[in-house]
């Protein structure tokens, strides 16, 4: 195509192979003029190397930190769908009747009018659905370019709940967790993210360090 010769069109055309999906040259962040630039940039960096946490969480200069955190959390919730899919096959309401990690806490599902002891799989799904609703809410997040301070504060509670999904998988469905983690490095990235921006306090992070290369704790937090 003549057009493409002069200008790269970053598009997934119907009929393209799975391996070619989103396989286009990276676009420098400065050249992204869309309102979804931050999301584009984050996804682009993750796609390049999902294990390179430093690169993924290195905020571009002059970027609004609220938006940066928000977009990352969106990305986490989205990728957590993958873990939920895997858990759906194994985490049954009969076996995991409550949302637990260690024996210390039972988590109540906040998606209901009065918090409920949902089975773990329901807790997972409800938390992700609730996060999707909140993060897409026109009331709290009407813009993806600037986010008001009161809405940024909402991200913390989402992060805390989302972390429980990781911890449940880790303590009760270790095989799934490991397979998922190997593929996505999501839990490491999440831990790094919440630590770096001090979104949730350290004593809540009950998972042991996942491996030695994880730069948790080395950062400014």
């Amino acid at each position: 195509m003549a057009v493409e010769a002069v200008q790269i069109l970053r598009r997934n055309r119907p009929g393209s192979k799975a391996k070619d999906f989103c396989r286009w040259p990276d676009e420098p962040f400065e050249e992204m003029d869309s309102t979804l630039a931050v999301q584009q940039f984050i996804q682009q960096t993750i796609r390049r190397d999902p294990s390179n946490l430093e690169a993924i969480l290195k905020m571009p200069e002059a970027q609004d930190e609220g938006v940066w955190k928000y977009e990352h959390l969106q990305e986490f919730c989205m990728e957590l769908n993958g873990l939920a899919v895997k858990l759906q096959a194994e985490c049954k309401p009969e076996t995991c009747t409550q949302m637990t990690a260690t024996e210390q806490w039972i988590f109540l599902c906040a998606a209901h009018k009065t918090p409920k002891e949902c089975p773990a799989i329901d807790y997972t799904r409800h938390t992700l659905d609730g996060a999707a609703c909140l993060l897409n809410s026109n009331k709290y997040f009407p813009s993806r370019v600037s986010i008001k301070e009161s809405s940024v504060a909402k991200l913390g509670s989402v992060c805390r709940r989302v972390y429980r999904i990781f911890s449940h998988a880790y303590f009760h469905h270790r095989a799934i967790f490991d397979a998922f983690e190997k593929e996505t490095h999501l839990c490491k990235r999440f831990t790094y993210f919440v630590t770096k921006y001090s979104i949730i306090s350290k004593d809540i992070l009950i998972l042991p360090k996942l491996d030695d290369e994880t730069p948790v704790g080395e950062s400014e937090a």
Binding site: K17, G130, N138, P142
Partner: protein
Amino acid sequence: MKIPTAMDDSSVSHHNGGQVGSQIGVSVNNKQNDEPSQSVQYSIPGILHFIQHEWARFELERSQWEVDRAEFEARIAFLQGERKGQENLKNDLVRRIKMLEYALKQERAKFHKLKYGVELQQGDVRPPPEEPPAEPEPAERAQWKQGRQLIKQYLQEIGYTDTILDVRSNRVRALLGLNNEEVENPNYRNYDKQQHDRCDYSMNHMVRKYDYGKEPRKSGVSAGGGYNEEGLSVQETAAVFANFEFLTNQEMDMDEIDDLDAKQSHHPPGKQGEEVDHEAEEVLNELNLLTEREADGGGQGDEYPVGSGSSGGSAVAAGAVAGAGEADEEPLALGELAQLTVSNEPEAYDVASANKESFRKTWNAKYTLRSHFDGVRALAFHPTEPALVTASEDHTLKLWNLQRTVPAKKSAGLDVEPLYTFRAHTAPVLCLAMGAPRSEECFSGGLDGTIRVWNLPPPTADPYDPYDPAVQGAVLRDHTDAVWSLSSAHGRLLSASADGTVRLWAPRAARPLLSTLRADESPTAPAPAAADFADAASRAAVVYRDGTLLLYDLETGQPVLRVACDSPAHRVRSHPTLPLLVTAHEDRHIRFWDGVSGRCAHTMVAHLDAVTGLALDPNGLFLLSGSHDCSVRLWNLDTKTCVQEITAHRKKFDESILDVAFHPLRPYIASAGADGLAKVFV
């Protein structure tokens, strides 16, 4: 000086000093009383005086009487005038009632004729008879109630709940409240009438909607229709009564009207919360659109059973329906009254027909569906319900019920929250098809190469219900690469994949794969981009990435038609009734192909950028296209002209709109965007 003895004490003294005279007079009088038998001495001047005096007195009295008489006469005239006025009014009302009765009968006959194609056997279709309308018999009343129940049931089936009916009747009452106070003022009355018209207009649609629900089950309907007819006549009588009673009251007794107003005013506030309001508004809106669409249909072939001519009739029926929503026991059936009085007026027709003629549908954004974390690749409407499913690059599908909305902050649009999130794909979901004819299933194809069958949860499901694994159906895994297009018809499914094949499935069978269509065995052959059933699902139209369009015979699995085109295609759709194929191309063109000869019937530059989405309306009159230029365009298929352009989505990288869709039954269109939003227009 002699004093007249007979002189009355009341007389005015005409002589001497008044004071002395009167004193003397009194004494004389006393004397007279004491000795009545005493002969009286008359003197001429005394008599004259007396006569003069008497005359003056009579004169005085007479003038007084005259004044009184004039007063009474005036009063009589006034009363007579009043009586005359009352009589005129009464005559007028009686005439009006008769006119209405007559018009109603005629309309009912017309309606019946249009609906069943037979002349209604109605003995008494003739100009107003002289006898007053009869009180409904108890038996009739029972039947009427039954009919009403039936209508109510239909309405509920199609999704009109009591709340909406209530809101509606409350509105009618509110309008009527105005009517009561302002009846004397002709201007206001006109305004009021318009209000009623509007109201009726929307009622009108409600009934049509009910017709929709009814149509597919014709056999069961004739009985229902009968009830309807019956119910109506009783209803009408009752309403006419109410009318009469009410109007008389109004003339005679203003206090009572005040009472009435007060009574009406407590109806609404309890119920009309904001949510209900919203819902009602939404429904009203939807209903308005429905007619508008019907108007369209009427102009172009009229697939709807209710012709425009019968609108008056159905408006009356709507009145009855609205009435059904109200308390049965209410003695003053004001709701019915409102519709009856207005909908049969000639003006009502004028308004309706004018609206229909001048009408040109404009679609407006109504719902924004936000909940996906990444671009929405595909969307499909439920075959009957106001619901849709979206498929996104965030690996999920979501089900949305457009009747469960959250009022958005300041914009006119409404936000919808998803009813259910389908999780099972492990990669972006790329395509979607609704089950046909089974409406409770849908299929999705993803970048992971799987096609998944889903059993749709009911539209009443709560997003936070416990997880039900039964929602996930079979998984079709034969494709070895991304599945880019799905199309469903007659219980079969057609999929196009980047592995180079198009496959035909019977998704619920034990061995679901029916056949594999392959244009070229060589591994470098271009992959299919999209596929669609054509010719009543006996053929498959497939476009390839190199722009080739192939038509396969599904019996033999062999291509029967091959057309080459130099621009990569993104979508193909076959016309619902004509042998016409429409393709969307990277080079901004939409091309139309004759499905028999393969001739290019028309080609047009449709957008400023690659055309990505195509949808044909169920009647095959309009084409909807979406493009990476961020706009959705609606085309008149007949003239191939753009009817409307809507800028709907933002860009993510160089992608914008990824899919568009028409609702198969209801007036909704939708677009899906790379910005993670889906929008529904009404």
